[in-house]
Symmetry: D2
Subunit: 353 residues, 4 copies
């Protein structure tokens, strides 16, 4: 069976990555692409890797509005919405109403508490849909994703935090009376395709810098929500995002106080138990995560280390922010919802080097 | 039908790329990996992207010698040899003798004239095999590749030169009484995995530099051989390779004297006629090749421009040196030899960005 | 004696580099900074390297208009104008009228033929000033620069072409009945500070690409003008600029037809004779130019090679596009005009690595 | 007065940076360069930025042994020793015995407790000299450096930790009953010039990775020593070094538990009070440290932020690891020892971009 996929926001980096993955997905065909600001242009004009590929580079980017939902519902079975927040809920909501499965890659359906959403993002266009959205982290929500019509693709940073830490909190391995320290380093593609001074090559190359620190980054409440669910208690996160001179990748290093005689193998076992999948590597021995080792793939590399002298546990994770942190995870969640192979269409092997 | 593939030299970059592609090839399974200096180690130890993948990261790298050929012939149907020259002919030759199909990624079977090989590389261990080798540039040698038992994978730089220029010489579009000027820029992975001062990040980042210029690079005779065949006349090449601060990619810019009223669309037509494939994009309009737009894929981007004021033709090509310039092209040539889809196992879409 | 310098366009990359160099110049003090779009902001706000430096980071960027020329003339002895073309001639012209020495880093006074300027740039605001401008390439115009009141800072690409080639044409070493082939690779800072899609890190990293090829780049007439002067005959240039994934640097490779028995040492001698300065290195032996080896300095590395087989001469040059290609060369020309040490304020040693 | 400087280990990156800075130092001239493995080669051969510079590129690298100390003492006033540990103490010790001032850039004289040194580095060749060495962080040890004959240049990572944190502990602003969490990101030049697989461009570009984590990095005891002195109590550090795809730079992010109503301006005041110098910028407002903004300079950018929700203090610092983290700091300490301007020979302004 082949399903027809549409993409809203096909001219951005997340859209480009969706196109790459859908193109090699055995059960999906790309049937529709929309991009508001670039409507009327061909896909090849906007996504240069598609140039010259018949049936792909010559697709014309559409303008999609709420009123087009019924019409689009005849042409597609699932829509991946890679849009700014609010726009995503509005347009995705219309498609959902029209009977189309929606995988939303914005923040609109990630937060379960409307007041938290409003505090960080402003008014929500379709608050009544929040309850039916399933958080699309396949390893953690496999059961809930089965048959889901509205999937909320997780944020890139939260993915890199939840994968190593949720298993620990679910198993009660670490004290919950502490803030979780999260130090993340991301590539520039996480900032999106719109050119900014801060992501200009001349000012990004040779530059490492923090930004939106001390509780000001919008991914903070998402991390806290999911860690709190796992811990069964309200958790706080101190999140420090940092921009690194690379295109793709997130390396997250987390710090948690444990005991002097903590056994790090319990973490490895917990991760294996709760994250079992073709797309997770729990590293052992001297191996540590590296963004280069997961680039272009849906894989997450996870590792743990314990420092006896300070009684601290270090939980680490490397992902590709556009793949596992956005597009490949959206497809994996969709795969689970349809009972396809969880990794259908998703490279399990990174491009190395 | 699934065929069993072996890789000699699996711990290098070309080997790593072969593993990535074979892993997603519908008609190939990876049955054997060898790496002389790292024999006994697991694949995961050497190729970090395979870590934690069952049946892949735990494969053990073997030591392969000529005497093992009969034994290996029982386990594999095809061997990809990504070895230094001479070693490649010796070991590949033994496998060929034992009835195994060999796709050689070294220089050993690229040059048809033994004396030219000897002048550039020294003694050839199996000169008698040269005549039966087929040059593995699928778009140019499709017929010859059908059923080929010994395939010579083209060099990375020659691939980037032959794709844009062979069609022009075949069609007689450009004068043959001139040297072809080839100015190429490559990423560091072309220098291989062995760490060198010149490819150390600290001395490669922010550095553009020529090397092995003025007729000293070993890919020169290979370019001249194939251009001469296409032109039906002996062609000379002035080749300037340059190292660019990127991991993957070759951008080649070639210069040829034509006439003031030359029509560049004849080049585009010639390229389409002689290179027709799913993995070639002949760009038009303002679009020009970019290594980023082909990275990780088997695609070559080609473009032409004519400068009326100087009566010069510029032929350009961008490829991924590890994929189209080595491993994916080897697999494409193998595909043609077996009458599989030419692009089986090969991403047609680059990872963008 | 300390002279007071002003900068128009202080918030761009060329401006930032001027500030760095003036700050260490023994005979210059920074007395005035202007930046139209960012007027009112502190220098530290725009040039982050100046933050926290008293007397520098707290300088306020001014808005400078023609009417302010008389006033500014009381405060500064020399103005470096790093402005877009046309604006530069208009404002620089007003300052010149008011008796201020002007070093113009735009294209406005580089071309001696008004009709050529108009063909490439449009109307010239002050055409009557062209005749008095001196082309600010110190090694080539030392005499003319002495006492110059209006200096035209050369373009970055032309600098990298003229340094290796003018000596050859002055000495009559190469035939003049041919187009000069120029293949240049630049870092992203050459595109300026305004963020563009093409220089966004995500689309510049791992990307090599040509742009504005086949006689469409505005530096072409400047190269042709100066090569024609040196050759005593009208020369044509085929110029191929290419963007490389690095912040700073230009590597230029030029191709010229010579004879089979050409002696490359004559080029080295010509370069030493015509370019003698503390800021030129003519490489010999196996050494070839590398942008990393000149980064941050006013140095140009030059080398030549001859290919007997094709009778071609390769002339190569590496410079830092913001230093030797713009700001340090402007200061060197100014130094010569004032009979200061030619390299005053200019690092002769690159930052390596 | 001009003093004559010698460099041991002149062919490495720290040596290259010393050469760059000494070359522009008003009171130093480079009189002697040694490099064991490359003795007999010219400086230009090893440090390509010096090629073609008379009196610099043609200096011959010497082989220096203990027995040469008396002879060398006649030729130099100060020696900068950029050698591996143990070799540094042995050769530096011999020079000190011969009356030469020694600025040691290895770890040999950083640790005051011999047993700590032995535990991390093995036997110390000259333990009796430890007591007379002065820790060369000028802002923190100005008085002690005055007249010092043996200076221990601080480690790159410790510099980035001590600058933001020592003022806080000296002022008693943060609780001392906690481990200090230090998350650092470094460029590849910190790993030295010897090519390694991990710093090969192909495996460093696009890669962020931790290494030597959980109390295994040798800079840990140095951080603990100096923080303990400042705090007046034994402090523990959890140090996580990470390799980033850039040549130069360290960005360090530190985490400390404080109170909910902590006032971050007290940190800024403490930093200004204890670090007053031309080479320190304490950032305020929205500005945060960036390695690009200090590259090539002796400047350290420092900033603090407080997260009310988690009661955590974030102390940040960006430096150039080869300049402030090694060579420029060594020269600044030397300057203080001789009562020269603290920043003589040291760029206060980074190369931006």
């Amino acid at each position: 069976m082949t399903l027809r996929a549409g993409i809203l926001g096909a001219a951005g980096y997340t859209g480009a990555e969706l196109i790459r993955l859908i193109d090699q997905h055995p059960q999906l065909s790309l049937a529709y692409v929309a991009a508001r600001e670039n409507a009327g242009k061909s896909l090849g004009e906007m996504i240069p890797s598609t140039r010259g590929i018949q049936g792909l580079g010559d697709l014309v980017l559409q303008q999609f509005d709420e009123g087009d939902a019924q019409e689009l519902a005849k042409k597609v079975d699932v829509v991946f919405a890679a849009l700014p927040h609010a726009a995503s809920a509005r347009l995705g909501g219309a498609l959902l109403d029209a009977g189309v499965q929606v995988v939303d890659l914005s923040a609109d359906f990630r937060l379960r508490d409307l007041s938290v959403y409003e505090a960080w993002y402003g008014a929500h266009p379709r608050p009544e849909l929040i309850a039916q959205a399933v958080y699309g982290l396949p390893e953690l929500y496999r059961k809930e994703l089965s048959g889901a019509q509205l999937i909320a693709g997780p944020g890139c940073y939260p993915t890199s935090v939840l994968l190593p830490l949720v298993p620990l909190f679910r198993e009660g391995l670490v004290p919950i009376d502490q803030a979780v320290i999260v130090d993340s380093k991301t590539g520039t593609s996480g900032a999106g395709r719109k050119p900014l001074p801060s992501t200009n090559f001349s000012e990004s190359g040779e530059g490492m810098r923090p930004y939106k620190i001390a509780g000001t980054h919008r991914h903070t409440p998402e991390m806290e929500q999911e860690l709190s669910v796992a811990a069964g208690s309200e958790m706080r996160v101190l999140f420090t995002p940092q921009l690194a001179p690379m295109i793709r990748g997130i390396l997250t290093t987390t710090y948690l106080r444990v005991t002097e005689d903590f056994d790090v193998t319990t973490c490895i076992e917990a991760a294996r138990k709760h994250l079992g999948s073709n797309l997770i590597t729990v590293l052992e021995g001297d191996h540590l995560p590296d963004t280069l080792h997961v680039r272009g793939s849906g894989r997450a590399q996870i590792a743990y280390a314990h420092d006896k002298r300070t009684s601290m546990l270090i939980g680490m994770c490397a992902i590709d922010n556009l793949a596992r942190g956005a597009s490949s995870q959206a497809i994996a969640a969709f795969n689970v919802s349809r009972a396809f192979d969880e990794d259908a269409g998703i490279p399990r092997l990174a491009q190395f080097p």
